[in-house]
Amino acid sequence: MSHQPYERFLFTKEALNQEQQNKLNHHLQECDNCLTLAEALANLEELFSSSPTPQPAPGFTQRWQSRLLESDQKRQNRNLWLMTFGLFALAGAILLFLFFLHLPFINMAYELSQLIARISLITAEVRSSLNIIRSITSNLPFIIPIIILLTPSTFLAITAVLFAWFRAVFKLYSPIQERGNMS
């Protein structure tokens, strides 16, 4: 005996016409297997309808709000990481692209960077030299008066000492008569 059409009548739960209903009833009177299944289905549906609808614990909305806050923070952090990673990836991709496809440009760019480095080094050296000069010149106002005062007086003193020495030497080697006549 084929149970297929009767099982379909039972389990599709579609409205049956009078002829189909009569056929099903007749089959259920004869077939214990299908009758057991029909009873099982009826019990099952009764169990489902008597089973209460479960409810969440009180404060569900408050818990949802705090969870939403946490979720938003996590999303922000994730987006930040993704953006950072994306930028690095983009920069890497551009560098690779330039490296493989525009090598002369890379060389030119390398030379240009070398030139810039040299210019900046020279500028730094010039600047440091200027700083040294500036630091010296900034102290000059204190040194100049001292030099101005010391140099002529030293010169005069040396000249006077030399003049006195030459005169003393001249007197020593001059003849005695002359010295007697003179006296």
Binding site: A40, L44, S51, P52, P54, P56, P58, G59, F60, R67
Partner: protein, 198 residues
């Protein structure tokens, strides 16, 4: 859909978190119920329901106001539960994080009723476990949410004929599981030892 609900949805579509909170308050029961029937325990159901509402909040712009909000929301929930069941990696919730147990009042069911209810719940859970996730979702929507086949099709992104076929197969599986459970029931086994005088 009531006027209030329509207003909440409009405000939520404009990014009003408070309005969405009201929708959460309104729909928490059907969403939790679907999660509970799909996953089988209150902790996982709570987690899945919360996550479903968060997903709905973040994707509210995709909601078409011409469709029923409940169908859209239950669709997100059902797919979230199906994914959770497939991954079998449901996050655990510590017992301390759960709300405190509510002390039953005088209208609470008697211990006998509680026992029977627990038995039924266990039976329902075991029966539903026999089904595949998508079939389980179809059965839960049909019996606990009184959804029509068209609504189930919309919720689960299936054709109506596919829903009919799944419901047919699921009922068949459930009936056979029922018979197996009935035969293995400890209550049934105890009957021969019961005192005939009583």
């Amino acid at each position: 859909m009531s006027e209030k609900e329509t207003l909440w949805i409009k405000s939520a579509l404009q990014g009003d978190e408070h309005a969405f909170g009201l929708l959460v308050e309104h729909y928490q029961r059907p969403v939790f119920s679907l999660c509970y029937r799909m996953l089988g325990n209150p902790q996982d159901a709570e987690d899945a329901a919360q996550e479903s509402f968060i997903k709905a909040y973040h994707h509210i712009k995709k909601y078409d106001p011409n469709r029923p909000f409940a169908t859209w929301l239950l669709s997100i929930t059902a797919h979230h539960c199906i994914d959770a069941l497939r991954k079998k990696r449901l996050p655990t919730v510590s017992m301390e994080a759960l709300p405190a147990e509510i002390i039953p009042d005088r209208y609470a069911p008697s211990p006998e009723q509680v026992f029977h209810q627990t038995e039924w719940e266990l039976q329902v859970k075991n029966l539903l476990l026999a089904l595949k996730p998508l079939d389980r979702a179809a059965i839960v929507l049909r019996y606990w949410h009184a959804c029509s086949e068209v609504e189930i099709a919309e919720t689960l992104n299936l054709s109506v004929s596919a829903v009919k076929s799944r419901l047919y197969r699921s009922r068949q599986t459930l009936a056979k599981s029922w018979l197996e459970l009935d035969n293995n029931s400890p209550l049934k086994e105890r009957k021969p030892y019961e005192s005939p005088a009583l």
